[in-house]
């Protein structure tokens, strides 16, 4: 338990530090990218559905898998589109 808490605390720090100097123009892409990352709930959805024994759990799980997939896939694609402006221009 304390290990998970430690992980949590460290991850908070990493999250803070890593984005603390982002420039304004990247606010929206960064938000969108982070949004795609929390789509990792897909992993959770797959795990519970993979263990579901049918019934409500299965239905809910599958719904979760669907929704999470939309989150992941849409998130990364839309972020990439937004970032096209930074594509390979000089320097």
């Amino acid at each position: 338990m304390i290990d998970l808490l430690t992980i949590f605390v460290l991850a908070v720090f990493v999250g803070f530090e890593v984005v603390s100097k982002v420039s304004t123009i990247l606010h929206t892409p960064l938000m969108s990218g982070a949004n795609a990352i929390h789509g990792v709930i897909l992993v959770g959805a797959i795990l519970i559905t993979g263990h579901a024994e049918g019934g409500v759990e299965l239905v809910l799980g599958l719904l979760a898998v669907f929704l999470a997939t939309v989150n992941v896939v849409g998130g990364f694609v839309v972020t990439d589109r937004m970032l096209e402006m930074f594509k390979g221009h000089k320097r």
């Binding site: 338990m1 998970l4 992980i7 949590f8 991850a11 908070v12 990493v14 999250g15 890593v18 984005v19 603390s20 982002v22 420039s23 304004t24 123009i25 990247l26 606010h27 929206t28 960064l30 938000m31 990218g33 982070a34 949004n35 795609a36 990352i37 929390h38 789509g39 990792v40 709930i41 897909l42 992993v43 959770g44 959805a45 797959i46 795990l47 519970i48 559905t49 993979g50 263990h51 579901a52 759990e57 299965l58 809910l60 599958l62 898998v65 669907f66 999470a68 997939t69 939309v70 989150n71 992941v72 896939v73 849409g74 998130g75 990364f76 839309v78 589109r81 970032l83 930074f86 000089k90």
Partner: protein
């Protein structure tokens, strides 16, 4: 320790690197790809290692989700991206709530497990409904103005208290029905939270809801005992929080107003500004605009002289030139307050004469100029002089900067120039206003461009 845990760890690493990349223009795109790579790794691992039943069904849902997600993301117009992000965020929150709910049905756990479940369900629900409302607002399916329900404040406080009570009840009883009720309360809370948020603040609300979803995912990680979910969720929660604060700062909005709109007794009256809206940017916005431009035209005016900003303008131009950007100066015959006013100043700052361009040199090719930097000029770039026969300055030749790709307007206020006439360029969607003394703004810009 097994290979799956290791794969999850690698995925977590990818996510960290993704966020890091996304914070700098140069690596933003790569960062996003690294994040996607991490995600693929994580999902494949989960599927290969964690799936006992329903493998095919899961695959079908994943394919379905992909089939829905990709075209949606590809079709959306760039201007509609924020609402798309809101929607994706909402479904993520819903997924987290569902996962926790399902696990709650399937497994029994200790108090901490229940606490994590409660948090996941509540926050996920808030995030889902809140995101849906922001989507409706931005898509203009409902009004973009703040919606102030009668008794909105009491309602908000009421639902919040109900959620706390329900949470406590779930923790003590472990009742699924109560958990479902809590989810409903969360949905209501999300709606109430976002309704009073008006136009410009909506993106900030989305960012906050994004951070919420991250926290919900982290909590679900505790529920499932999955370190990857904890790390990734926490990362998003933390970075999303910081980002929300940065966004609010950049827009000059106090975060508390947005956060507690639903609970504040007398919500801010909607700003009754003029109908026409202006877009004011930050120094960083302009810096990136400049940093990625190929050609920049500086149009100095009387304000440059008042601010004695000639040296600062020259320094900025030098910096841009050093990066291979083509910089020239558009010198209008009547810029300033005496003939040759700009010449005197720019000569003092040692601007080479061959950089000085006149109306006839500039206007024909102005369409291909990436950014026009209007430094304390006003009348000499007023499209009214060209287009509006009733304007007192009609007939004066101007720099047609409204035909360039983007305009940055540096002045201190919305006050007009010498001729006292309003300037429609200020309200042009191409225009970014940078308020403040020209020298100040240029000096800050100089520092900001160096960071780009």
């Amino acid at each position: 320790m097994n290979w799956a845990s290791l794969a999850y760890l690698v995925a977590a690493l990818c996510f960290i690197l993704a966020l890091k990349g996304l914070s700098t223009p140069r690596y933003a795109r790569v960062g996003n790809l690294v994040g996607a790579g991490g995600m693929v790794l994580a999902v494949v691992t989960a599927y290969a290692h964690g799936v006992v039943h329903n493998g095919l069904l899961i695959l079908v849902m994943v394919v379905l989700g992909t089939v829905v997600g990709i075209p949606a993301a590809k079709a959306v117009k760039m201007t509609a991206v924020p609402q798309m992000v809101a929607l994706f965020n909402g479904v993520g929150g819903a997924a987290a709530a569902l996962v926790a709910l399902t696990e709650f049905l399937a497994a029994d756990g200790d108090l901490l497990f229940d606490l994590a479940t409660v948090l996941t369900v509540l926050i996920g629900a808030v995030s889902f409904s809140g995101s849906v409302v922001t989507f409706l607002k931005l898509q203009e399916i409902m009004t973009t103005r703040p919606v102030l329900l009668p008794a909105g404040q009491s309602l908000g406080i009421g639902v919040a208290v109900a959620s706390v009570v329900l949470s406590a009840a779930v923790l003590t009883t472990s009742s699924t029905a109560l958990l479902v009720l809590l989810a409903l309360a969360g949905l209501a809370l999300g709606v109430l939270f976002v309704l009073p948020v008006g136009g410009a603040d909506v993106p900030i609300a989305i960012s906050l809801l994004n951070a919420f979803t991250g926290l919900a995912v982290a909590a679900s990680g505790y529920v499932l005992g999955n370190t990857l979910l904890i790390v990734a969720g926490t990362l998003v929660g933390a970075s999303g929080t910081i980002l929300t604060r940065l966004m609010a700062q950049a827009m000059g909005r106090p975060l508390t107003n947005i956060l507690f709109g639903a609970f504040s007794p007398r919500p801010e009256v909607a700003h009754t500004e003029e109908q026409r809206t202006v877009r004011s940017g930050t120094v960083e916005d302009v810096a990136i605009l400049l940093g990625y431009a190929h050609s920049v035209l500086v149009v100095p005016g009387y304000g440059l002289a008042v601010a004695q900003a000639q040296h600062a303008a020259r320094e900025l131009a030098l910096l841009l030139e050093a990066r291979g950007i083509d910089v020239s100066y558009g010198i209008h015959p009547v810029a300033g307050r005496m003939p040759g006013h700009m010449n005197v100043l720019l000569a003092e700052a040692d601007v080479p004469y061959d950089r000085l361009k006149e109306l006839d040199d500039v206007n024909p090719g102005i369409g291909s100029v990436d950014v026009v930097l209007v430094v304390g000029a006003n009348d000499v770039v007023n499209p009214g002089a060209r287009d509006d026969p009733s304007s007192p300055i009609h007939g004066m030749p101007i720099f047609d900067v409204d035909r360039a790709k983007a305009v940055v307007f540096m002045k201190r206020s919305m006050r007009p120039g010498f001729a006292g006439v309003d300037n429609s360029l200020l309200y042009n969607p191409k225009t970014t206003l940078l308020f403040g003394d020209a020298k100040d703004s240029l000096t800050k810009l100089l520092a900001a461009v160096k960071q780009v």
